[in-house]
Symmetry: C2
Subunit: 238 residues, 2 copies
DNA sequence: AGCTTTATCTTTACGATGTAAAGATAAAGC
DNA sequence: GCTTTATCTTTACATCGTAAAGATAAAGCT
């Protein structure tokens, strides 16, 4: 870990450690002492983890940091998640679930299929921009255990939603298992476009392009311009 | 670090440590003792780092592991790279340089502009598949210091090559600074498509699609099918 | 040539991390 | 009311990045 990162993290460490000592030891101060058994530690840890993630980034998301944030001992998470991979995977599952909800809501807006596809794409990028830590956790972490049911199902649903919305406006029947090459290509194209755009945007690699674009060109406008030139390749009936 | 990862790494640790002791202490065995001054440690460390990266993945790429792989003390890299960010950044610069060479070679093949664009896209994905560790280092690591001249220039050249090859077959003049919205969109589309496809492929997220596609559909064929439906949107003169 | 300076590499040390194991505490079950 | 189990803390250890001081050899200088 870099010295800068250590310094950045040490701030919260001391404060939360102090808060924890106070709440546990100084009962005379009138505050209720933190009970030995938290009661809902699992959810509290997940909420703490999300706060740490969006505040300190992926590198700051450590088991001990989460425990500090939640005000419990550093080994407390082990009982609920096994190891760091477990915690990260459960948090990613939450991210996928929320992401799926946002995509579903965007797809249910009224309008032509193309307009709805655009709305979904906008929602995709908007989620990542509003929750960069979560999106990075979901799509750039190698520490995800997809054998965990929660994560497996949430990620599966995410893919199914995407595949369904793309394949629904393609020619031919949409089998539950079999895909034509054109259908596969359409799914891969939609996903690659929006996922690649999102990653490049979050990594700051589109900053150069945006700077050299006409004044007032935002990430959203560039996204729309990019999709406008791609989507019309649909069959006329769509 | 997971127990599995620790076990996976510990193998090499012991062997290289043993080799180092032997080469330094047991002069009587006839082997030349490793000199105190390596002579070309910087390059040796970069080569060692690439071996570690492609063997043990991004998580295994630690300063100490690289030092062990090169047979020197764990603090030796500090003198040449400052910290882990320095080493990682220099290695990423090498990756970008090689990547640029591969893309340039692919773009110089004979054929129509569309054929050359396809060749470049194939080369892009092929590089990532042949060097997944390197590609991950270049595009998914947060530990890159783009203020380092080597990395900055190599990455800049990479982007310039992409932007040039896309903008070259667009209408209107290609200014060195100014881009029309259509030009920006074309660059963003090409990059997002191929980068997104590559990331999804490396993450194994296209496996489902490939499995449900017609028999014999490889990642390369899916890529071509995906691009075929996108590229023809070029002006007729291309 | 011999001495000094500098670059290179090693050793030692420290705080951080993940994780295992054992102890403490309170809730649940009987 | 006692025992069992779940939950949380404490302690411990190996690993990591990094800093600092020591050792060694090359380079430079007089």
């Amino acid at each position: 870990m870099t010295k800068i990162e250590q310094a950045r993290l040490s701030r919260h460490r001391t404060t939360t450690a102090a808060a924890r000592t106070r709440s546990r030891r100084a009962v005379s101060a009138g505050e209720p002492a933190a009970p030995y058994h938290h009661g809902a530690l699992r959810d509290a840890l997940l909420e703490a983890a999300e706060r740490v993630l969006e505040r300190d980034g992926l590198a700051g998301l450590t088991l001990r940091a989460v425990a500090r944030e939640a005000g419990v001992s550093h080994a407390a998470p082990t009982h609920h998640f096994g190891d760091l991979t477990g915690l990260v995977s459960e948090l990613a599952a939450i991210g996928f679930t929320r992401f799926n909800a946002a995509m579903k809501a965007a797809g249910e807006q009224p309008g032509t299929p193309i307009e709805r596809a655009m709305a979904r794409a906008r929602a995709y990028v908007a989620y990542a921009q509003a929750n960069p830590g979560m999106y990075g956790l979901m799509f750039r972490t190698e520490r995800l255990d997809y054998s965990r049911p929660a994560l497996h199902e949430a990620a599966e649903a995410s893919f199914a939603g995407l595949a369904g919305s793309v394949a629904a406006r393609s020619e031919g029947p949409v089998g539950d298992e079999e895909l034509s090459l054109d259908q596969s290509a359409a799914i891969a194209r939609a996903w690659s476009l929006v996922h690649g755009y999102t990653m490049l945007l979050l990594d700051g690699r589109l900053a150069d392009i945006l700077r050299r674009s006409p004044p007032g060109t935002t990430a959203e406008k560039l996204l729309e311009a990019m999709l406008r030139a791609t989507v019309p390749k649909l069959p006329p009936g769509a």
